[in-house]
Amino acid sequence: MRASAPQEMRASAPRVRIIDACKSFGKVVALNKANVTVRSGEVVLIIGPSGSGKSTLLRCINRLENLSSGQIWVDDDQVTDRKSDIRKIREEVGMVFQSFNLFPHLTAMENIILAPRIVKKVPEAEAVQQGRALLARVGLSEKEKVFPDHLSGGQQQRVAIARALAMNPKVMLFDEPTSALDPEMIKEVLDVMVELAKEGMTMLVVSHEMGFARAAAHSVVFMDNGEVIERGTPDQVFSSPREERTQRFLKHIL
């Protein structure tokens, strides 16, 4: 995967801005003044030990969790403003979960067209057509009528990616998308994600997949104890991390 290193990120408009994000669950501090900016078309990989607040950070971007203080913006919409229409923002922010969370009572196609039909009121025929294109894109054209239980983990996760893409989001959030997968299925999911990155999707990815980092990530953010410790290009962070905490963490996972 090394061969196709991502192109240099040109300066483009910030798409997601996380400003002084703080979040605590009772006494546990999950986020502590975290700042991250993601530019349009940028792919940011978030790494860090478990409990470092990576997933929480992601889940605050579409307000599955509420920040305790701080701000999050997606383009010109302030996610953290109670008055903003959070559902409009969620339409534009796709999310992929560690446990896939496909709807088990619906087929692959029904999973994909549900939100476009209900939320965006897309006519069924049009939604199905788009669904077919998406299934082809994730390499699962023949699984249209199959229920999630009959799909492998890798296939389920690819359907979940297609489901998120069906809303034409401007940002995609991936919360440990390959952590629940058997090793032989990780690649098929990462391939889809790398493709997506190449097409210019803005992505925030919580993952420790080095292959993906090298092939698609523009920058890597290291988090620990709810703080952003350092950020740099994959080469910088993985080969010559500045912070001692980053070095210690990388020693464990590399």
């Binding site: 969620r90 446990s99 969370n101 496909l102 709807f103 009572h105 549900l114 239980d149």
Partner: protein
């Protein structure tokens, strides 16, 4: 209220399963008794069908109404709107603390003070008020048993909580709640005998009427018990079959 054990588990398929022995045994006794001694058994059996019909009517109407009340209560119990949540919870707490027989009396006379309704409707309303609370708890538990990732995925796609509930959560809940609902329905069928204390001529009341006319108490209640048994065993089988079909369609 339900006793669970009425629904036969899987693997009880042999010709001599407990269910078969009870069900066909009860039917056999119901056939043999009138043949051996037509008086009083044949007379009793001729006297009861009106009551069976009323019992079934009360049961079916109560099931339909308490399903609606139960679903609303169950959703209310998990509502994030405090007032709705409180109302639903208080309703459940109150109803579960009062014996059904007392509720039936109470609702009958309370209703009587307000409006004149036929006794059978008073009975259905009382059963609905009571069973609505119990079914509400079943629906609540069923909804809460669905993995929270399902709601999150739906919401992340832009659905409202109500849309997610209707399209994603409830369809999955049905499968989970079917067995306990079935048990509750069978319990309701049995509890419907309590409405005989009102002027509703259900199966039990018809049996009592016959008995007090002829003083054949033992014989009358033997037949009444057997008829109840046949009905509940029949419905428990129905629920088990439905459950089986659902789980098969699932695989």
């Amino acid at each position: 209220m339900s006793d669970g054990a009425l629904i036969p588990g899987k693997g009880e398929k042999s010709a001599f399963s407990a269910w078969r022995i009870s069900f066909f045994g009860a039917i056999a006794v119901l056939v043999i008794l009138p043949v051996l001694s037509p008086d009083p058994y044949w007379r009793i059996i001729q006297f009861l069908p009106d009551g069976i019909l009323i019992t079934l009517e009360v049961t079916v109407m109560s099931i339909a109404c308490s399903l609606v009340v139960g679903l609303i209560t169950g959703i209310g119990r998990i509502s994030r709107i405090t007032i709705i949540n409180r109302i639903a919870t208080i309703y459940v707490e109150i109803i579960r603390g009062i014996p059904l027989l007392v509720q039936i009396f109470y609702i009958y006379y309370a209703l009587g003070k307000l409006i004149q309704v036929p006794d059978i409707f008073a009975a259905v309303i009382a059963m609905t008020v009571c069973y609505g609370a119990y079914l509400g708890e079943i629906f609540r538990a069923g909804i809460q048993s669905i993995h929270k990732g399902q709601m999150e995925a739906a919401i992340a796609l832009g659905l409202t909580r109500a849309q997610a509930l209707r399209r994603i959560i409830l369809p999955q809940t049905i499968r989970v709640v079917l067995p306990p609902l079935g048990n509750e329905f069978i319990a309701l069928l049995k509890d419907s005998s309590l409405v005989s204390i009102l002027a509703v001529s259900d199966l039990l009341r018809r049996g009592r009427e016959y008995a007090s006319k002829t003083f054949n108490y033992f014989e009358a209640f033997t037949v009444v018990a057997l008829v109840y048994l046949v009905m509940t065993l029949f419905f428990s089988r129905l629920v088990a079959l439905m459950e089986e079909r659902m789980s098969r369609r699932d695989r």
